[in-house]
Symmetry: D2
Subunit: 472 residues, 4 copies
């Protein structure tokens, strides 16, 4: 799949004793790395004093030994990984955000995107708030801190603040003595709770992070729920649950989440296999092999193979050593970046009719290059099957996508797309099928496929105006 | 699979015109990276002047933009990747080796290991040669250069020198105006020739490097063959072919080579599937799923599934962001490195009887950890199947393995191993089956499985003495 | 001299045309590097959009080619260097500070220290401001931005804000279209204006930065003055001038400033020579040579030599290659860090009676080590002369010094100090002499020598409380 | 002074006990850094096993903590710093050179340049030696090792080898159990011996390195002497002493050596002052101030001032933070690199008649820029005085200089040079005066001033041919 970026992954830990919570956060962030490769950060709260290290880059690049060990022990830590853009912004926008306040320091990590950040910010600025960035996360922090001035506790402040926020937000927050996890009432982004054998409570975007820190899954945070962990135990505030239609992002199952994660009770891997099964069931094409595009199409391809009876095959070798510093070939070198990164196995492909499965098509250009490489490897027929519906609309809830006009399915019919990407046939999953890949599929947000946005869209035009005016 | 290291990968290119041969070598080395991660190097021969850049690290680490672009254009280049050890040696031992001589400069890259390097070296030293390292490659270079003093051409010198070398050596050599490829008469290590549309001739350890530089496969270099490319064309000397029993390393098919490569006419991927099929055919165990250990067991697992009719499944998620700088968890952190790197998918595993396929067992410890993680994920039964015979003996031909006494199969029966790694049953491929995975399977070297070494073993005791005496 | 740290150096440039103002800022910061080695930063204002790059480290470390060139062209830039502490704070506290606001973005760089920052901050927080750091500079920015909401222009906002600030502050500020320079009414820290031949207006902490960017000196900014540069020219607001006693920090002449700078009309170099002359005139000791401690004592030593008639000599070689990464010798190595860094020239020292001149003594330990090294080099007598009065009190105006109780002169008489540092005699400059080293010497702040602080000291206890509570 | 490069600095240590000899070498190399900034290396001989770390860069860059600590303890270590060129060569040519041989490993560090390296190499190659580089040091190593085959001891081999070498060579050599120091019979380059209180014997290019490791000076190694240190004590072979005319490089006193060093019994600092005194004594010009060009002209300027009675002044501030990564200003920035690096102090210069002293003029361009900057700072007259004779000839003994035709004094009369560099008058030291700056001045090599080369010049043409043919 090409270039859809999840916004972020978040993690938090509360321990009964002072310990190396930074390292545990580090392992958790490693397992959430797929949710964001732009920047990484960890804050250790050591008895009310916040110690942060964050920078642009992968977890492994940001937290070299010296940096990780520069963080002290503590009882609370939160961590964050952020999606991949480039340039100076990465450093400025790295999370968690930490602020220093007479009512107590605060650190916060956010996954998602607000739809009312412009209004929030306008109001905050008019009453004296001063912003360093254009990020909506800064608005969340300011809203909470403002409420704190008139609240009895940080959890009360969070509760009041959350009611002012619209859109997608899974948050982990550290006050001087508490760890708080919040999931927006729509539940756009996942958030779960786990427990380690030594009693540490952890929160994470996905269950794979629980596995990484040796925690067992306790439960998902409910849409609208606020969970507070302190020395006096775990308290939950569910007042805001059920106030909105549940709307977990369907792309979490299709692409974003790691396939070993369980989200809102359902296995990501099985959901992906289910997508492949649905594609197979509504298909009549004859073929010799089913092949997935590594790595995003493999699970659905296996589901397709199982349901269709057509043999599953490994069709490509993906070069696992390609890194950030790869220097792309020039045209004059007559060698293709794609073949260096993803090479078809000719002995598998040659002379075969291929079912090629991927999770989505964004612009179509990468897809076409892959298909051409299969033709060069001798594929007789190529039938492309996409394990999601045609991707036509923008996302306002934390998925960073191109201008909708650049989405191939926004501009072309399926028949036209098949011609453009040069396949013999092309099928997509339907929205109806998508809503059946997990038992609670009716509660998925499918707005980017059917334009049925579960919230008002207030500031999206304004947003771009903002972004253009400052570049930190 | 645990820690078997291939020695190296080699590449060479001869162009009709002066061009950016360094970049093409860079892409080729990227695709050969699996053959060695310790160091990488490229020599560009620019009209007789050798320009080298080499250092320890991955291709992507050694050749950052400035370093790659510091190499000039030229008509000949050779490149090398070397296997993964640690420490100061990596830098010292990086190849290609370049020497400066009045008869002309010489650069050489070597994959394999000599069995008579101690004798060679003793003789060379007694006649005045001075060595910088203990590497057998330096002995090869010196032998060639000495022969050059009394030869009419570099190819004559290479021909004479090769007759003094015993053991495994696939070489690419650049003289001021020629590119020479040599494969030892046993053909222990692979070496192939390709051609780009613009007429450039390339040599590489594996065909996947041809794909990476947009070259089509011409043919394998024969065991014992010396191919010389110069402005006057391609000349071959086959005088030494058929002087020895062909002995391509069986582990090239089982593990080392990339599955999209074709070696000596046969697809690595299909050979691996064949291993799985053999395992299935001689098996009677009942199971729900066939799972491969990523990435080395996946092809054989698929072969097993196809032949047995038991469904193939993706049983693990491998974290693709774990890098060199990963900081391992301490025991006190109660979190497991393995689960961070390779996490079982509980929804797939839970309650199932599993056929688990991997390519080999070395010491058994990694294997046991993986099996335990499957048990924790709910596996009801685990039947391990290994797509190679029990690994019991040392290799003297370029595979860097532990002391044979540390090989689990050298010390234990299959039954004992099954108990140690805690599986319900364990089967290996037989040597007889191994010799049938490719049509010319009789010609494979299987010495590490059956101790039938195709050469005398002259200096292996001496060798270790050497290694201990100097550490550059 | 040992470890007195100046807080910062600032620079600003306003050009009539869009150009590479980042590079000019870079050269200016190079020449101001002696004022702060902890962090460096440059903001380019490109038509209202602020582009910042800042990090911990020296100018040369922060602004490697890629980073400097990542900044766009623009018409306004400001830059900052910050004094040298260690650790995580350096990154967090790097200046300039940039904020994003609906009334326009703002960047600000500050040299100095407020004495009412605690009150300011308390008031700002109680009305909703949220702070990221404990730095007083953040309070300055917030005060200006708050005033901006009710002001017609940024310069009006600055004028109102300045009236709320107490203490030391030389500021350069970039609004979307204006460059503003401010110097506090006491004029604690220097600030001057220059002009380049192409009409660019620049502000800098010292005139050496004007030389570095090819600008000629126009004039010093007056204590209390606010100078605004915009497309409509240069406007000045002197309403706040003469509202306070002028109090330029005496240490600027004694130590901080570069000796080629002219501050408030007087040459730093000549002021230092004058210190040496005063020391000589009130001295009767007989000696063979006058030697300065490199580099801070050299100018005064020359002044002493000229006034006394005792020959001036180069007594030490300072190793100019010692850098940040120097690994200090351990005791067991029996080698001395001092001799590696600063080695006496035995052929000069041996058998001589030495006048040794330095600018100050802080704790006395470095001083004693230097004196011992002279003894080992054969000095017969050592008479130490200090070109400032005994250093006894804290500074609240931007000089980062130890706890006064650790100052040797705060705890000991001159006689005792002479014994501790093991000299044959010791003399200091008197405060009266200090007030004569420049014509306007009466206007110098000499509070750290005579405890006559020119402002109330409001928050210094509170300050330390603050610093301890958070560590970003 | 502009761009004359010394070839190298060497160091060796022999300890009675196994200890951290690497760190002591590191401190010694720090103090020899002025002799070479291109590369640095240390070899620790740990009971016959050689452990080397070397790379391009300054000592502080090459030996970051991890690299220094990667070296084990041992009883012998040798170290080397090499002069500053750029590019790929730096890494390849870094010393010490280490070789592995059945007669025992060998490490060698060399300061100087052979004049018969071409003949040596030709002979060595014809008898089978194979060279990796074009460096003459490799020829020295090979000659010694060849002699070793037929010698009873390494010191005998060194003695025989030295007789085959012509030109300049100060060597430190580590055999498995001995440390050997050699100085060529002309004594072109300095080499001295010291002893630490714990009995460690050290050899170094200059005495400043003895100070750095806490050793006291024992004596200079005599021209032609071979000193061997082993467990059985210190043995010297003086057979080759007095076989050649002593010819210590005059530039060691004028420029290369550090002024706190004592070379062949005479203080470098005093020799430089003496140069200034001679200049003053033969001068009649009237002036107000004597100023040295930092740092190379300062000592002679002080000597001039003392002898003439004209006051000495500090005329420049040299920016001590300019490092390797400095990005030079472009012409369009209208700012001058020189003023950023070396700024005149206007308050000193303005209106004055200046005697400006430097150690030499190479091409004249830097000199002219400095003089122009003094004019801009208001100098009324500038009288340049050079503390060496006109520099007209090549050096074949280890000083890396431009083609003689690019030397301004090789092409122009003194009068013409004065016009070119725009001074009011110009005087040089005479060769006769130079020969009186130290008592044994008659024994100085002054060939680059008077073309009286103390050896035949055999291979200098050949040399350049060589250099051009290979570039590693």
């Amino acid at each position: 799949m090409e270039h859809i970026h999840e916004e972020c992954g978040v993690f938090g830990i509360f321990s009964q004793t002072r310990k190396d919570v930074a390292s545990l956060s580090y392992y958790a962030l490693y397992s959430l790395q797929h949710r964001g490769q732009e920047s990484a950060g960890i804050v250790v709260n050591d008895d009310g004093i916040l110690n942060v290290y964050k920078d642009k880059g992968l977890v492994s690049e940001v937290f070299i030994q010296d940096h990780l060990h520069s963080l002290p022990q503590g009882r609370i830590a939160i961590g964050h990984v952020r999606y991949g853009t480039t340039g100076l912004d990465a450093k400025k926008n790295a999370q968690p955000i930490c602020i220093n306040h007479m009512k107590g320091n605060l650190a916060l990590a956010h996954n998602g995107n607000l739809v009312n950040s412009y209004e929030l910010r306008k109001e905050l600025e008019s009453t004296g708030s001063i912003f360093y960035t254009t990020s909506d996360t800064e608005s969340i922090v300011y809203t909470i801190v403002k409420e704190r001035l008139t609240s009895k506790s940080i959890e009360e402040a969070v509760y009041k603040a959350v009611q002012k926020l619209e859109g997608a937000f899974s948050l982990v927050i550290s006050s001087p003595s508490k760890l708080i996890a919040v999931r927006d009432p729509h539940g756009f982004r996942p958030l779960c709770m786990g427990k380690r054998d030594d009693g540490d409570i952890v929160f994470a975007s996905e269950t794979c992070a629980l596995d990484a820190v040796g925690a067992h899954f306790v439960r998902d945070i409910l849409p609208g729920e606020i969970v507070t962990v302190s020395s006096s135990g775990i308290h939950t505030n569910k007042s805001l649950c059920e106030t909105c239609k549940k709307s977990l992002c369907a792309f979490e199952y299709i692409y974003f989440a790691r396939s070993d994660s369980i989200i809102d009770g359902h296995s990501v891997h099985l959901a992906r296999q289910k997508c492949g099964e649905f594609l197979a069931k509504s298909d009549t094409v004859k073929a010799d092999l089913v092949i997935g595009v590594p790595d995003s199409g493999l699970d659905a391809a296996l589901g397709y193979a199982n349901a269709s009876g057509i043999p599953y095959a490994n069709g490509f070798v993906k070069n696992k050593y390609i890194g950030r510093t790869f220097i792309s070939p020039t045209n004059s070198q007559r060698t293709k970046e794609l073949n260096i990164k993803l090479n078809p196995i000719r002995s598998v492909i040659n002379g075969k009719r291929i079912i090629l499965v991927d999770d989505s098509i964004v612009r179509g250009s990468t897809c076409r290059r892959i298909i051409r490489s299969l033709r060069e490897a001798g594929a007789k027929e190529i039938h492309m099957r996409i394990s999601s519906p045609p991707f036509i609309g923008a996302c306002y809830y934390g998925t960073d996508i191109d201008d909708p006009e650049k989405l191939i399915a926004n501009q072309h019919t399926i028949k036209e797309i098949a011609d453009i990407i040069e396949v013999d046939s092309l099928n997509y999953l339907t929205v109806e099928q998508l809503k059946q890949i997990v038992p609670n599929g009716k509660e998925l947000c499918t707005a980017c496929f059917d334009l049925k946005y579960p919230t008002r869209i207030a500031n999206h035009q304004s947003k771009s105006k903002f972004e253009n005016k400052i570049k930190f």
